[in-house]
Symmetry: C2
Subunit: 227 residues, 2 copies
Amino acid sequence: MAKTAGLTHAESVRLSLENDIFTGRLPPGASLDEEALARRFSVSRTPVREAMLQLIQSGLVEKKPRQGAIVTQIDLSDMIRLFEVMSELEGICAKFAARRMTPQERQALRKLHEQSVEAYEAGNHDKYYTLSRRFHLMVIEGTHNHELIETTNRLGIKLVPYRRFQLGYPGRSENNLRDHEAIMEAIVAGKFEDAAELFRKHTNVQGDVLAEYIAMGDREAKAASAG
Amino acid sequence: MAKTAGLTHAESVRLSLENDIFTGRLPPGASLDEEALARRFSVSRTPVREAMLQLIQSGLVEKKPRQGAIVTQIDLSDMIRLFEVMSELEGICAKFAARRMTPQERQALRKLHEQSVEAYEAGNHDKYYTLSRRFHLMVIEGTHNHELIETTNRLGIKLVPYRRFQLGYPGRSENNLRDHEAIMEAIVAGKFEDAAELFRKHTNVQGDVLAEYIAMGDREAKAASAG
DNA sequence: GACATGCTACATGTATACAAAAGGGAGGGT
DNA sequence: ACCCTCCCTTTTGTATACATGTAGCATGTC
């Protein structure tokens, strides 16, 4: 909640809201009232409005015609489509990363992977999760293509509010780790075609896991509204 | 220039500016002053500001720290990177389109292509260009994946201000037409792998043409600043 | 003459007040 | 009893006035 390190009010409001959405403090579907937010942050509607506009453009928030805005809800078919694109994009990223990463970057990727193995073996799930995410980011940035990085991340942030539900799926971590290992080796070795295909499939599976979760939620929602 | 068909001022300002940028009336590098724009559209700074924010997020406009904003300039390396991503994305689009287009959509794609052949043979370059662009859009939308469509188009609009320079390159249209023909046949036949590869290469070549143009401009700019 | 310091002017960001459109409810009419 | 209309309320968008910080310039001092 603490902010203002040379940021404008609009920026700090946006960052704060983004954070609330990412952490689930503002869950999908939560409504956002301009005035309420203005009060909460002790600013006027102007910077709140500006922040909301940006959140809307980023896709994290949707504007409902006459009832304020709400945190974007992703249903099953949206989720499937999102991962359809995401897996292709990350595949492409892996391809370029395998071609372009500097030797230092390749080494760093290996190191990062080794750290996640350690975290996994130590049973430190939170740390493992964090490192695993960072692995993806490192590959994305390894493309050395700003447009690709931005495009991929823009999609990625839409998924953040949902990612935490990936945790705790039994057996996921093992498979995840194996995937990363293979991807890392392919990238380090410069086998760009392998890297692309491995990463694409890897992200696809991740998507399936999340889709399963969402499908579960959808069923529950349907049951609730039917009851 | 006149609008307001139920649009807010912010929206019509944004649309107007977008249009000016697309058509080259506001060329890359042109500076945009909030107050001047407010006067031009007879509105206050507030909606102009809102419009600018959106243009900045879309990447069409860049904010220069203390000298207003300018229409984004794309240099050679940016252009290369943009097309690197664009060709991959359009390749993916072709893949999904080849799998998912309805029979009606496939037929429409063939028809569209035939129309561009006609326009080409009639020597109607403007029409040919328009139809050729529409061909791309039809493939993109044929994916039936909103996220992919949006992602691809978001990149695409950054290129719009530059596309008109593709015109008038001798021999481009023939090759272009041949490419489209092959892509169309692959998509209609559902040969998704072929479609993907053909479209990817096609867009890559388009990028090379544009990159050549930009490189030319860069050289001139360098010569001018050196002289 | 050069550097530092303060002033000016502008760009940027913010607050507040105002206007307009849209929905819902209440009251009246059929 | 039901519907229609009008008004009121709430939300959204806009204008305007104000605050703030920075850059460039000028002025003064060393």
